[in-house]
């Protein structure tokens, strides 16, 4: 079985390792490019959301490179992602491909189905061994997320543009080479040290901006034009609300999602409307409570939950006194346009910061707000 899967940001590496450990030949997915975008868009329904189109393109590229099995996952309603597999498969079939598809839904909803599919993936590995491999991949994901978070903190302070990104890629290289649990741990520490070596100006004043929105365009930097790197180099520290590890904890292994974000969203959007719509609202409230300078909402064009969330953003922005910028992304979005709007936004929040420094007000009792979900980089894990 030559297996491939969607490119899911840096966590791709952990997935790849897991599948290799299980003894499969892996066709590692390529980071989506403009080509992937257009290939996917051509073969997708016009109003499918961009993650669907990117996945479509990624799968087609993988099939060309010889894959005969695909791995994917999605929530089971109320939004579209859970139906991705079915439609992707039908379109692929229409184009003459017959991949074997492993499409996972949240295990608590369909436990038997999940076990069956895991069994299909297991091959000759014993269940116990498989659990070990999964644990290892999980450690790897944590290490990758830690590195990424740290890079977001360091980049705005770097004294030489691009130094952080370079160090970050080296650190990723360490992790890629690690095979065992111990090696992963070592690589993680080495990577963190490597990032700390980036020459920084610790006294520089930076802006803090929270990122909310749909999961795929958050965790796959190629889907958002490496927004965090752009922002970092403009002197902004980004705090993203979704990372692979907290997503897995909140949404894969529990039925309620991120409770604190849902709670914070209550006064505005009391119901889970699928995707991360409710989280987007809750996270805006949280970022505002922590006196962030602004929030960026990332959403695929036609993304249903994020459109609902966006309809409340003007109100939230006013009530909580926090600037919010929304990007709806589709295959026609151009990097240049994103950059221009970002620059204008950053200028605006600098001015606001200056005003705030002059004499400030806060609408919140901060003690009452639950903690930041961003995982602090802790090398000892």
């Amino acid at each position: 079985m030559k297996i491939s899967f969607a490119h899911i940001g840096y966590a791709t590496m952990a997935m790849e390792r897991l599948l290799q450990d299980l003894g499969h030949e892996v066709i590692p997915p390529l980071q989506p490019t403009a080509n992937t975008f257009s290939l996917g868009a051509v073969h997708s329904p016009e109003f499918a959301c961009i993650p669907f189109k990117i996945l479509m393109g990624t799968y087609l590229e993988a099939m060309e490179r010889g894959a005969d099995a695909l791995l994917s996952a999605g929530g089971r309603g109320p939004c579209r992602a859970g139906y991705y597999g079915e439609i992707h498969q039908r379109i692929l079939r229409e184009l003459g491909h017959e991949p074997r598809l492993f499409f996972f839904w949240p295990p608590y909803q369909v436990p038997l189905d999940t076990l069956k599919k895991l069994n299909g993936l297991r091959g000759k590995t014993s269940w116990l061994q498989m659990v070990r491999y999964i644990k290892k991949a999980w450690k790897m994901m944590i290490a990758l997320d830690d590195l990424e978070i740290l890079s977001h903190r360091i980049r705005p302070l770097e004294t030489e543009t691009g130094a952080t990104s370079k160090a970050f890629r080296q650190a990723l290289g360490y992790i890629r080479q690690a095979r065992t649990l111990e090696e992963i741990e070592e690589a993680s520490i080495a990577g963190i040290e490597r990032l700390h070596q980036v020459p920084q100006d610790p006294n520089r004043e930076v802006l803090r901006v929270g990122i909310v929105g749909e999961i795929y365009v958050q965790i796959e930097p190629a889907a958002n034009f490496f927004l965090e790197e752009m922002m970092g180099e403009m002197g902004v520290e980004c705090h993203r609300s979704i990372f692979m590890t907290n997503y897995v904890r909140h949404d894969v292994f529990s039925r309620h999602g991120d409770l604190s974000a849902r709670e914070l969203a209550q006064p505005y959007l009391p119901l889970n409307i699928g995707g991360h719509g409710q989280n987007s609202i809750g996270d805006v409230v949280r970022f505002a409570a922590k006196s962030f300078d602004g929030v960026i909402q990332l959403a695929p064009f036609t993304c249903i939950p994020e459109i609902v969330a966006k309809s409340m953003m003007p109100h939230l922005s006013q009530e909580l006194d926090i600037p919010i910028l929304t990007f709806f992304i589709d295959e026609q979005t151009a990097r240049g346009g994103v950059e221009t709007r970002l620059e204008a936004f950053v200028d605006m929040i600098w001015q606001k910061r200056a005003l705030r420094n002059a004499g400030s007000r806060s609408v919140f009792d901060r003690a009452k707000i639950p903690g930041d979900r961003g995982l602090a980089p802790v090398s000892s894990r």
């Binding site: 997708s44 329904p45 016009e46 109003f47 499918a48 959301c49 669907f52 089971r76 309603g77 109320p78 939004c79 579209r80 859970g82 139906y83 079915e86 439609i87 039908r90 379109i91 229409e94 505005y268 959007l269 009391p270 119901l271 409307i273 699928g274 995707g275 719509g277 064009f301 036609t302 993304c303 249903i304 939950p305 459109i307 609902v308 969330a309 966006k310 309809s311 409340m312 003007p314 109100h315 709806f328």
Partner: protein, 336 residues
């Protein structure tokens, strides 16, 4: 003075209005509908609603704007589920919140959750809560509910018999259930076309540029989702590995599959969809692929947007009908 309750004339209105209206009127309340969708309503909707919303949601905001100054309450229930098997589109789930945060100077909203499970009881609970909120005793509420159910049942039957929603409402209220044998399929000389899509898209002549009338004027007999029996829809659902997650979308796909299987009855299938509708990206692909696989009933997709009034739609429709006429086969017998 009885209180006035405003109901926006779109979205779930097309399915549930008789149920709501009769119930509220039985309590002695005054029910006011917004005007038929028109240019002004569209403009107000475009102004109020979030830019990236689909056309039907914008239009809903327009209807809210049309009503808000002349009613005591706005009836904006949070439609969650109608069959216990699927939910409504996520935009329905967040609809009261969208309205609340997009429009200004609103009267109080009646936005309780409509969450049906199997069985009638949960339906009653909705009305019980509604009655309580408005301050009516249980006995009156129960009576109103029973009456509303009766009319609603009749409404569904009239629709099944082929009346468009507004006529079906009138008939259901004035003459109760249809007395004729529920459906009579006559021989028909012209084309038989199935038009599937969400009721708020198919039955609102303003947003679909009067599609149904154009078809009728061209001598076609038109069949819609509402004319397929629920039991038949359930049967068709087994042809798919997995349900879609949304109530209206499921019904459209199932009805589409039903019509695609009526080879010697039907001449063509049209799917009407709104610009940038999320669920329809899936629905339309499914229908397109199914119709291609089966390869017998020609399929046309029509996307409507804010400017569908223009000639493009009519031209495409005419071309489609011409194509169908060219391949029409005589002596078809209905199989329903």
């Amino acid at each position: 003075m009885p209180k006035t309750i405003g109901i926006p004339r779109t979205l779930a209105y097309y399915t549930f209005f008789p149920l709501w209206k009769v119930f509220l009127e039985e309590l002695g309340l005054n029910v006011v509908l917004s005007r038929q969708t028109n240019k002004n309503i569209l403009e107000m909707g475009v102004r109020d609603a979030v830019t990236d919303a689909c056309l039907p949601i914008k239009i809903y905001h327009g209807h809210v704007a049309d009503l808000k100054d002349r009613v005591d309450y706005l009836f904006v229930p949070r439609m969650i589920s109608a069959d216990g098997r699927s939910t409504f589109c996520p935009k329905f789930l967040g609809l009261p919140d969208m309205v609340r945060f997009s429009a200004t100077d609103l009267p109080p909203l009646l936005d309780l959750e409509y969450r049906m499970r199997r069985g009638r009881f949960s339906n009653f609970l909705f009305f019980q809560t509604l009655g309580e909120q408005l301050g009516y005793p249980l006995r009156q509420v129960s009576r109103g509910y029973l009456q509303a159910r009766r009319v609603f049942q009749a409404y569904r039957e009239w629709q099944y018999a082929g009346l468009p929603p507004e006529e079906a409402m009138r008939e259901a209220e004035s003459s109760g259930r249809p007395r004729l044998p529920a459906r009579e399929v006559k021989q028909h000389a012209g084309l038989r076309i199935a038009v599937v899509g969400y009721p708020y898209v198919v039955y609102d002549p303003f947003i679909n540029a009067n599609l149904l009338q154009i078809l009728k004027d061209a001598g076609c007999e038109v069949w819609t989702v509402e004319r397929v029996a629920d039991s038949r829809l359930r049967t068709m659902s087994r042809q798919l590995k997995e349900d879609l997650y949304w109530y209206y979308s499921n019904r459209v796909v199932w009805a589409g599959l039903h019509y695609l299987s009526q080879l010697d009855f039907l001449d063509g299938l049209i799917h009407v969809t709104a610009f940038a509708c999320g669920p329809d990206a899936m629905v339309d692909k499914l229908l397109e692929l199914e119709s291609r696989d089966r390869g017998q009933v020609p399929f046309l997709k029509i996307t409507i947007d804010e400017h569908s009034g223009d000639a493009g739609l009519v031209t495409r429709l005419e071309a489609f009908l011409d194509m169908l006429k060219a391949r029409q086969r005589p002596g078809l017998t209905p199989r329903v």
